[in-house]
């Protein structure tokens, strides 16, 4: 077996192991033990998580050997690595606070992230000259570690909100909580749809007249590229065309994927609502009641205090050192750089609000959620849509 296949096997193994770990963390809810007491299921859960993590390190190393450069250079590799850092951050905070519930919320996010990564092209790609720098590896790995730790604050904040928000009445808060659930489900739907049609080798081609390129859709076309003509026959023809302001050949394809995710998310969400017969977060609430909100709040803040310096170092300082070498300017207001700055400003605001204006508890938890949304926006939307120089997605 060559290194490439060994590495994908490692990755697949850790994906599965994480899912099993989630099941064990789910068992901890049923445990009648008092909080804080470590449960058997929880111990199995964390041991599995660590095994999965080691397996993922195996993936990382073998892929590095295979590609001759650190595997953090395209969307697939980067998202996978982010998923791995999320698990790592979870392991660290687990050992500080021993909260099993955290595993039940963070690991699924990690699994979704890794699943999402697998949708992107996985072949090993060569590095263009500007990416050939040790500072690139150092920069990218530190940033995603920082973002992973910051994301743990999202996990803790989310549990806090599910526990604390009043579910007896409909409110803005319950709406946004449901919205978070729906967003996660949409990503899952996207992964599911892509994987399914990918397995079927589904493809439709469009001729985009303005740029004279062909665009290949790998899922049925709901929205055609604006200005596109379908070349493939005997496939479902698109329902409508992308609006005129979405120019560019790829915009239509991206819009189409987005529609699929949103619709798929809606289906999943609807199913869950039918099963629970109430809001998803309302259904989850009794299951997290045992947790200690004080402690969750502390974890939210602690994750930010640990993650913020790491993020600053990786996302701003190492990033500038690399940019200085590669492009002779350490700061260039490239969208990716600006979004790192935005993330940093946001968490700085978070810290000040908390320390000096007493934003604890619920406010702090909502901020943690927004922070995670910014991080994901940076990873996904900025890379795929706004993309500047750092663009991972070609």
């Amino acid at each position: 077996m060559d290194y490439v296949s060994i590495s994908s096997n490692f990755l697949f193994a850790s994906f599965i192991i994480y899912m099993v770990a989630i099941v064990f963390f789910a068992f901890t809810i049923r445990d009648k033990n008092k909080e804080h007491k470590q449960t058997k299921a929880g111990t199995v859960g964390i041991v599995l998580t660590i095994i999965g993590f080691i397996s993922q390190i195996g993936y990382f190393i073998t892929r590095w050997i295979a590609s001759h450069h650190a595997p953090v250079s395209n969307m697939f590799e980067y998202m996978t690595f982010f998923g791995m850092m999320l698990v790592f951050a979870f392991i660290i905070l687990y050992f500080i606070y021993k909260v099993d519930l955290l595993g039940l919320f963070i690991l699924p996010v990690s699994v979704v992230v890794i699943g999402y990564a697998s949708v992107f092209p996985q072949e090993i790609s060569p590095l263009v000259p500007s990416l050939k720098s040790h500072w690139l590896y150092i920069h990218v790995t530190t940033v995603s570690l920082g973002e992973g730790i910051l994301a743990v604050s999202f996990g803790a904040g989310l549990i806090y909100l599910i526990r604390q928000v009043d579910q007896t009445v409909r409110s803005k808060k319950t709406f946004w909580l449901e919205f978070i659930m729906y967003s996660i489900l949409s990503v899952i739907a996207f992964v599911a749809v892509s994987t399914t049609f990918g397995a079927m080798d589904y493809s439709i081609e469009f001729q985009h007249s303005e740029t004279e390129t062909t665009v290949v859709y790998s899922m049925p076309a709901i929205a055609a590229p604006n200005d596109g003509v379908m070349l493939t026959e005997d496939k479902m023809s698109p329902l409508f065309k992308a609006p005129g302001w979405m120019n560019g050949a790829e915009a239509g394809r991206k819009l189409n994927s987005l529609i699929w995710s949103l619709l798929g998310g809606l289906v999943l969400y609807g199913l869950l609502r039918l099963i629970f017969r109430k809001r998803i977060t309302a259904a989850l609430q009794p299951r997290v009641k045992k947790s200690n909100p004080e402690l969750l709040d502390e974890i939210t803040y602690r994750a930010v205090t640990i993650g913020f310096p790491v993020f600053t170092l990786g996302g701003l300082i190492f990033a500038s050192i690399w940019a200085q070498e590669a492009w002779d300017r350490f700061w260039g207001w490239d969208p990716k750089e600006v979004w790192a700055l935005i993330t940093w400003f946001f968490y700085a605001a978070f810290l000040h609000l908390r320390l000096s204006r007493g934003w604890h508890g619920e406010k702090s938890a909502w901020l943690a959620v927004i922070g995670f949304a910014i991080i994901m926006f940076n990873l996904v939307v900025v890379n795929l849509v706004i993309s500047g120089l750092h663009s991972y997605a070609s």
């Binding site: 295979a66 590609s67 001759h68 606070y97 092209p121 072949e123 090993i124 790609s125 060569p126 590095l127 263009v128 000259p129 500007s130 050939k132 720098s133 302001w245 120019n247 909100p293 004080e294 402690l295 709040d297 502390e298 803040y301 602690r302 205090t305 640990i306 913020f308 310096p309 600053t312 170092l313 701003l316 300082i317 500038s320 200085q324 070498e325 590669a326 492009w327 002779d328 350490f330 207001w333 490239d334 969208p335 600006v338 700055l341 935005i342 400003f345 946001f346 700085a348 605001a349 000040h352 609000l353 320390l355 000096s356 204006r357 604890h360 508890g361 900025v382 706004i386 500047g388 070609s394």
Partner: protein
Amino acid sequence: MNEIKCECGHVNPEGTVLCEACGKPIERNQHIDGNEKSKLLNMRYEGSARRSKTRNQTVVDKIWIFFSSVKVGVWLIVLTLIASIIGTILPQEMYIPQNVEAADHYRDEYGLFGQIYYQLGFHNLYSSWWYILLIASIGVSLVICSIDRVVPLYRALKRQKPKRHSNFIRRQRLFGKTENVKQADIDQVVSRLKKKRYRISEENGHILAEKGRFSRWGPYVNHIGLIIVLIAAILRSMSFFYIEDYVWVREGETKLIPQTDGQYFIKNNDFIMDVYDENDERYAEAIKKNGEMIPSNYETKAEIYKVKGDTIPGQDPELTKVNEGEIRVNEPLTVEDISLYQASYQLNEFQSMSFKLHLSDDENESPIGEFTFDMNNPKKEYDLGNGYRVVVDDYFPEFFMEEGVPDTKSKYPKKPAFIFFVYGPDIEDYEVNFLTIGANLNPHNNNQYKISITGVDMRDVTGLTVKRDHTLPFFAVGAIIFMIGVVQGMYWYHRRVWIHPRENEVWIAAHTNKNWYGLKKDIESSLEGTDFNIPDDQQELK
């Protein structure tokens, strides 16, 4: 000044909320930090007297109050954040194609929205006056805010006494009472705290165990770091600290490096662009998918020369080689304080083209005369001997047809075209040859003579950024100080435990600036096995 003398004897400055020495809440100032009698004390800044809370007469006071407010600081950060987001909606001007008018580009590409974006100046948002003003205000706010707090905080922490007022102890978040505690238990707790690296001080049986006080300075240290970074950004606008220029050097050419006062020259020996081998199994699939070659290396083999002695105008300076090496992306070459970065390139620029003149109907095309057009030194006329000469009527370095009329896109010889007039003894007036690579258009199709290309000489051109940047060390120092401050404030915690003996009970209170969980664990493990009750957390969230 209205000083406040506390019952413990300590004299506090006006506006003090909690006595610096014993922590007793000073009755008339409790409104300043919003303390109510029954509630826990607000321990932020130790209840010290801040300028912003005590003086509000003059304009300076008002400005001071404005900028020292964290609320204002956070607003400034949030506004900057939102502005930054707006700047990423559409590409900034520096990232749009160079060859079009910005106004047109935004209108054509993004329609009305683009037009508005452009009109509002968002295409250059990060260098707009108001964005810079926002950043500058954050800087001012940082300075004022820090000074406002750090001095009083320092005073309060320095003057604190182990013996605290009972009101202070009782109103701490972690607080517990225990009756009839043996001295041995107290000693044991103290020695355990000592083991945990708490510093112990005592006053009449009242004990203060404290650790990590230095972490309180973290925010101020990191703010200093930020200020240094902002100062560095200001220095950047001065040419002594920062210069940026650009130089194109053709292969074989020696050129003056700009911004060096005519002191340094660079010679481009060779420019190399490598691409990944598409037959290399490792990357084959990715290269195929990409559809075109993927570059792996851009490199200029350069020599740097310095002028020897004084230069005499009109005379070529005498040069000595001072450095030699490769300039690659990610690997600049440095001479003194100037760095050269591989930034751009132009492959296969025409250096010279050779032509011959022959009879149109001669199959062998045996030359009547030959000449070479040097792109660097173009002449108006070439004498071919025997009375034949060629006049260059027009030369298009980068030729294209615009509505049937030949024109050039640039002055760089990327795709040269010529209009030649051929004169000769047997030519009546002159004959027109319109010539470009692969084509000789003869407008009248009745030429007796024809010009053909016999050879071309091509070479690569490298584009190098020339930089002098003395601000980098400032940025580096600022960044390092910022990191030190952030880590200092966030990975360490200021924890204090007070043991407060009363008639027949002992009180314990504790405070930390963050990470209460860790403090509770410290206390629990120190009190374990003793008679002490574990202190309650008086502020559990519901």
